[in-house]
Assembly symmetry: C2
Homo-oligomer: 365 residues x 2
């Protein structure tokens, strides 16, 4: 086994999930994640955790979903499993990113509704989501398998404690600030309020309210956006490639939108419900181990020199007691490259220019 697989497992179990002896842990293994599952099991054995391993096969899901009459129920056994779990480790990494492409949307939605109590029980645990590099994901990224593996481990095997310290600076700025302004070139100038909201130092650990490995972003839940914003990083929405999204906000809501391609998929998202036209997240990517876009939001949104906004649901972690965040059935991240001709201001102070932060060499205020 590549030693990096073991290092990945160690970061996941110790830094991210903080597993201790006696913890009841569910490990969810995607079809292509066997090798990481073996390394994680070894680490969980060392820590003395109690483990149930589930098989998160897209092909199994597809067969089940397509055969079902859509009168889905919540499985009491599944609910009991997660209600009694301390942690859930999701080991992604499938063999075909389109494995469930022919499951009808109505079926997915019906299944998701029935699974809502299970989802909530999972989210109440110390869950962490990561991926094992597979050939399928390499293909999605447009990379060779070998190069993709290096890419993943560069992103995952960081000095997380050091990055957490750096990100704490940005969290402090956002926690204390009232208004963020994002400016880029001629097309993007967006102001949004963050007054009363709490930023998350997403350092890839449940100890930081952070549930993705890799992570490396600071995010908060903005509201009342005014202005326009362009997202130049392509994304995939329900299998449709979407490029160059432009959103115009007035009165806190999207009043105009366009996309160079995939505009229908974008329109579907924005029409989901009322909250889908409002903002749910502002995130600032700070993981410099990620050096390219790979058509995977888990990585893309964490990349240094990027900023992302999500329409839809806000995360509870950004909402102090008494603050109600935006609610929606969707949460769709859109990313913009801020390495050039860009700045972020908080209450009028520049806190990032062309990707460079105030505490970094070369910063121009």
């Amino acid at each position: 086994m590549d030693p990096k697989v073991r290092e990945h497992a160690e970061v996941l179990v110790d830094w991210s999930a903080r597993i201790e002896a006696g913890d009841d842990v569910v490990v969810s293994v995607a079809e292509g994640a066997h090798e990481l599952a073996v390394a994680v099991a070894e680490k969980l054995g060392e820590r003395g955790a109690n483990v149930v391993t589930t098989y998160a096969s897209d092909e199994v899901s597809r067969a089940y979903l397509r055969a079902h009459d859509r009168a889905f129920e919540t499985g009491e056994h599944e609910l009991a499993l997660y209600e009694n779990a301390d942690s859930v480790l999701f080991l992604g990494g499938g063999r075909n990113t389109f494995a469930t492409a022919d499951v009808p949307g109505e079926t997915r939605q019906a299944a998701a509704r029935a699974a809502e109590p299970v989802r909530e029980a999972r989210m109440d645990t110390d869950w962490v989501s990561t991926v094992h590099p597979t050939r399928s994901l390499a293909q999605q990224a447009g990379m060779s398998y070998e190069a993709y593996r290096e890419f993943v481990y560069d992103a995952v095997l960081r000095d997380w404690a050091e990055l957490a310290e750096e990100m704490a600076r940005m969290k402090e700025i956002l926690d204390e600030g009232s208004e963020v302004r994002l400016v880029k070139g001629e097309d993007t100038d967006l102001r949004m309020s963050i007054e009363g909201r709490r930023a998350v130092n997403s350092a890839a650990s449940v100890a930081y309210d952070s549930h993705n490995l890799p992570s490396g972003e600071v995010f908060t839940a903005p509201y009342d956006p005014e202005g326009a914003v362009c997202f130049d990083v392509p994304m995939t929405l329900s299998g449709t490639r979407v490029r160059d999204v432009r959103l115009t906000f007035e009165g806190g809501e999207v009043v105009d939108f366009s996309a160079a391609s995939g505009e229908d998929a974008l329109s579907d998202v924005l029409d989901t419900d009322e909250g889908a036209r409002r903002l749910g997240e502002l995130g600032i990517g700070m993981n410099r181990g990620i050096d390219r876009f790979t058509d995977s939001v888990l990585f893309d949104e964490k990349m240094g020199d990027t900023v992302h906004l999500a329409v839809g649901r806000a995360y509870d972690a950004c909402l102090p007691e008494g603050e109600a965040g935006n609610d929606s059935a969707v949460h769709v991240d859109m990313i913009t490259d801020v390495s050039e001709d860009s700045r972020i201001e908080v209450d009028g102070d520049v806190v990032q220019r062309n990707g460079v932060f105030p505490w970094e060499d070369g910063f121009e205020g």
Copy 2:
């Protein structure tokens, strides 16, 4: 997908496990059983069952067990999963039958003790165990992959309702009988009591107290054996090949034993506890779809023209209210070929001679 995989899934879900809409089902998938898992998921979707899929990977287990300090605990989440399940479908079929060969025996035993409540919860469900044909199992059987697949489907895809009817005749004979005598050649002449015991018509369905697919045997829980018996079908005990076991019983217990090879492994079994020297099972193989020995007890003991005895634990299903069966930590089946020079008598009547039953052509009473 080979249509036989779908047929296998259908027999498992409908005939064996009797799954109905709303049932909470756990599907346990071995490393090599993905294809069968997909077919089973499709069938469970059609039936409207609620499914949790677990990953029964030997390599994951090995890594976990070897890393653990042996202070195992029962996972509350795992217990909750099975206590809330209606059915558990075990889809065997690994990639290496020796994948856990280097897990120390003490570790296995400690883990098994901690898992005892989980095992009991699983056994309280309508569980069924089957295997998907893998290259590893073909290798164990000494067969090509293609030939092994045919072998498995010949054994599994029976007319089970018809076989259940035939086996009901043997069950009736055993239920009404008091003493069984097994005679073969010069070396085997064993008498044992079955008075007060109930035979199981093991027709590969929970509706018949039968939990293996394939099955095709009638078994009961004999006691007070007297005489000698030789088992000419080789078996594997904890990785050791054991051949030509000979047991001599006096006063209901093994008083002498030998084996042409693997005698130490046999000795270990018999020394486990007091019950390990008494009988737990007498089974009569009646599945004529199984035409060769493949070093897998799931198949070998069901083969037509064979009889097996087990030392150790008796099955509860053979014990009417008030009957206490033999108790032991082990249950080890040993098989003898009765196609020639053999007969089974019940209370003095020949009920099988040279593999032929009274209701078959060519029977000689």
